[in-house]
């Protein structure tokens, strides 16, 4: 009997499905239910239809938070990717320096996000922080609590400090996988340093760089803890990104309907990005 397919193994994923149902599906269903209704508490709900979605989609507040998030992601990508490549290119390939560099690079990644926020919150304070005191001593008028520009600088530098290592480690993994024969051939041809980077190293790093860019974009687009701990979204709303705005709306104002609509729009954007990420990854694997 010809029996090319047996799908009975799918039953083995039933426990995972049950877990996902409780941790993701039921909360998501609840959010969908809230997004089309209004409540004043006491589990009393009133039908609102698509009103909250229309309100969010036409709200300046939502698009401003979205704009800030996109600008933030663009800035950190523009800094972290070239910086990560530069550091990876200059890391040793053999000897004791490899372990030292890898451990140093991994350290920021091991620190919990709220701790990173707390470190930078204290570090930047003008009364007790090393950065704050040092900048004041140098005559620079730095105060991330009052000045939106300083708050942005602090949040960006913090993210660069926290996450450039990830780009470095991914790029380094790509670089060490290049066989020496490539470099020997380049030397024989008299290739310049730039030519070696452009035609050997960069193409070989393409896969890991794509992963790094997508990972960093998704992460920065969902950023919450670090800027919340450092600036709380301020001064004003200057560092209020989408996730911070969402929490303010849902928990601060208890506007569950608009917050649910906003979180669904946010969720769909993240879902789209995740799909792009998954597709790129699986297609690279298929090519490989």
């Amino acid at each position: 009997m010809n029996k090319p397919w047996n799908n009975k193994a799918w039953f083995l994923v039933l426990p995972v499905l049950a877990l996902v149902a409780f941790s993701a599906a039921i909360p998501l269903m609840t959010v969908v239910n809230y997004s089309v209704q209004d409540t004043f508490g006491g589990n009393q709900f009133f039908w609102a239809g698509t009103e909250w979605f229309e309100e969010i989609l036409s709200s300046d507040r939502f698009w401003a938070a979205m704009g800030r998030n996109l600008v933030f992601s663009a800035i950190i990508l523009a800094i972290e990717v070239p910086l990560g490549i530069l550091i990876a290119l200059n890391m040793p390939r053999r000897g004791w320096g490899v372990s030292v560099c890898l451990v140093l690079m991994a350290l920021p990644l091991l620190i919990p996000w709220n701790v990173v926020g707390t470190i930078w919150q204290v570090f930047g304070r003008i009364d007790i922080g090393l950065l704050g005191r040092a900048t004041w001593a140098l005559g620079i008028d730095y105060n991330y609590v009052n000045d939106p520009f300083d708050a942005w600088i602090t949040v960006i530098v913090m993210d660069v400090w926290h996450w450039t290592s990830l780009v470095v480690l991914l790029c380094y993994a790509g670089l060490v996988s290049i066989p020496d024969a490539y470099y020997q051939a380049a030397r024989i041809d008299g290739a310049s340093r730039w030519a070696v980077f452009r035609y050997i190293q960069l193409p070989k790093m393409k896969r890991v760089l794509t992963i790094a860019i997508l990972l960093r974009f998704m992460d920065s687009f969902m950023i919450y803890t670090e800027p919340f701990v450092v600036t709380g979204g301020g001064p004003g709303n200057s560092t209020t990104f989408l996730s911070i705005d969402l929490v303010k709306m849902a928990i601060g104002q208890f506007d569950l309907g608009p917050a649910a609509a906003m979180s669904l729009i946010y969720f769909l954007i993240i879902l789209l990005l995740s799909w792009v990420f998954y597709t790129v990854m699986t297609n690279y694997d298929a090519e490989k």
């Binding site: 039921i26 269903m29 009393q44 039908w47 239809g49 229309e54 298929a286």
Partner: protein
């Protein structure tokens, strides 16, 4: 000899379960001024705040998933192919792209045109057919 799979019976079962569940849910709705109040709470006082339209939405998503399972049962393998996106997609990928795209079509309609989503639904159906045909 290849075993033939009877997919018509599971299909009838799934469609009957869908219709029966929708009917049961509709029966929970209160009557207001002589007409069914479609927007009323299905389980008053419940924290999950189920309403008939959202329940029907999720019921339809489950229906799509069940239909995909029956399709897979009838024709195993997921029908992978390379379409206009230039990478391989299976039937499941095409359903996901259809649903995600439909969500954005509805959002775009709400943001650019306004309430009244029947045309957005029709556009989404056309889009989904296009995805299943060409992607």
């Amino acid at each position: 000899m290849e075993r033939t799979r009877n997919w018509k019976l599971p299909l009838a079962g799934v469609l009957a379960a869908y219709a029966a569940t929708a009917w049961l849910l509709a029966n929970r709705l209160p009557v207001k001024d002589g007409a069914i109040d479609w927007q009323a709470s299905l389980f008053p006082g419940s924290w999950m705040a189920w309403s008939f339209p959202t329940a029907l939405f999720f019921l339809s998503i489950f229906l799509f998933l069940a239909l995909m399972a029956i399709w897979e049962y009838a024709r195993p393998g997921g029908h992978p192919r390379v379409g206009i996106l230039r990478f391989e997609t299976t039937r499941g990928d095409r359903l996901f792209v259809s649903l995600l795209g439909s969500a954005f079509i509805h959002l775009a309609w709400l943001g650019l045109v306004g309430p009244g989503l029947w045309w957005a639904l029709a556009l989404s159906a056309v889009y989904a057919i296009g995805v299943f045909r060409f992607v």
